[in-house]
Amino acid sequence: MTTTISFILNGDRISYEIKDHWTLLHLLREEMGLIGTKEGCGNGECGACTVIVDKLAVNSCLYLAVDADGKTVDTIEGLASTDGTLHPLQQSFVDNGGIQCGFCSPGMIMSSKALLDSNPNATEDEVKHALAGNICRCTGYVQILESVEAAKKHMSGGGQS
């Protein structure tokens, strides 16, 4: 069956006719062409498809699009400013080597954002706990954790630009 859902996507109010069985990932990638959200496993075990729904990080591969109705959805495409300025987390991942092949990066950044938005002073253990569901094969996580730490300092006004 089809249903028309209304939701806020990256700040824009959207109405979209969807099929009930679509996942949010399918809606974003295949229907709307927002390719930044990645599918790494399809089963909620890698975190590449992480988006933020009503301030919570979720696996969009395990989230029905129909459940986004009335909610606020943020994807990686919504992070940078319209003038192209990267979000501090994006910039920090770039500057600190948090990105190699890049396939896990959008999900990793979205998980980090959900964490820092709710807990701006997250400790390293809290960061690790929050990112445990985002698998990365390239970096060994070292520079990812450094990226989040640097972004945290920057976002709380404590670091250099």
């Binding site: 069956m1 249903t3 099929k19 009930d20 069985h21 996942t23 399809g42 089963n43 909620g44 075990e45 975190g47 992480t50 919570l56 990080a57 979720v58 696996n59 591969c61 395990l62 989230y63 029905l64 129909v66 459940d67 998980s111 706990h129 929050a130 445990a132 569901g133 985002n134 698998i135």
Partner: protein, 293 residues
């Protein structure tokens, strides 16, 4: 994934009635983190998916200060439990268990009810509920009934719920004073584990802070369903809790377990871990009790 129609009742009655209309062609879904995997794999192919997400009463998390009862609605997410300061303080065993289920992304959506109803042998969520003598409240076409969480499971992926029945909530009766509880999920890595073994221990002490008033030892992945190690619990009841007696309880629990070899690990190692971790969790309970004084 096969197409289906998504239904969003706002009351339990409505949900049950919708199920009545569509019977076998319908399935309930709470958070969906297990159900959507099953839909994708084709293990489940409903025409109607009845969502429980919009039923407000199911998402209640409340401690009744008068009775001391804790009510956990079936669609309370793992993350809500994990973040609850009250749970962290008073029910550490719940916190221990839910904070390591899957990833944060899964815990933000996945529910305690869904975890129980999925009925995998490793169900992290079930262990604390059993240790805390939780009672599940079930509602279906024939009305309401209560079942102890320990009696909820029949075999892997199968519970006592009849077609059309919904798990509404779990009630945890007031805990005795001087109670400590702890859970450990033992696996190769620090997160995203299906555990090799899961062990929950709860101890309540007499006023002397030494004698065991009540003990619960609950094992996950130690058999087809989450199980209590009754003999080990008996061994502790009324006794002075020492490291030695906890060691004996670990031995007993290991003997009682029905561990098997699987691709995830061998039976002997699972037994060893029960031996070791029952003792360690018991000691952790003692620490908690002493620190809470």
């Amino acid at each position: 994934m096969k197409e289906f129609t998504y239904l969003t009742p706002t009351t339990v009655e409505e949900a049950v009635s919708l199920y009545g209309q569509h019977s076998e062609t319908a399935k309930y879904m709470a958070g969906g983190t297990d159900v959507i995997v099953k839909l994708k794999e084709g293990w489940m192919e409903p025409d109607y998916l009845i969502s429980l997400k919009k039923i407000e009463e199911l998402s209640e998390l409340r401690k009744n200060d008068a009775t001391g009862d804790l009510t956990i609605g079936a669609t309370v997410t793992h993350a809500v439990l994990e973040k609850s300061i009250m749970i962290q303080k008073e029910y550490p065993i719940i916190h221990d268990a839910v904070s390591n289920i899957g990833s944060l992304q899964v815990r933000n959506v996945g529910t305690i009810g869904g975890n129980l109803i999925n009925a995998v042998p490793s169900a992290d969520g079930a262990i604390p509920m059993i240790a805390l003598d939780g009672i599940s409240l079930i509602q279906g076409p024939a009305g309401e009934r209560s079942v102890a969480v320990k009696d909820l499971f029949i075999e892997p992926y199968k519970t006592v719920l009849k077609p059309g029945e919904i798990l509404k909530k779990i009630t945890i009766p007031a805990q005795a004073p001087r109670t400590g509880s702890a859970y450990i999920k033992f696996g190769r890595r620090a997160a995203m584990e299906l555990p090799l073994i899961g062990i929950g221990v709860l101890l309540s002490l007499e006023e002397d802070l030494e004698t065991c008033a009540k003990a619960r030892i609950v094992l996950g992945v130690a058999g087809p369903t989450p199980m209590r190690a009754y003999e080990a619990e008996k061994l502790l009841a009324g006794q002075r809790i020492t490291e030695d007696i906890l060691r004996q309880a670990g031995e007993k629990a290991a003997d009682e377990s029905k561990v098997r070899d699987s691709v995830r690990g061998s039976a002997w190692h699972r037994k060893e871990m029960i031996r070791v971790q029952v003792r360690r969790m018991g000691l952790k309970c003692m620490d908690i009790i002493r620190n809470n004084r």
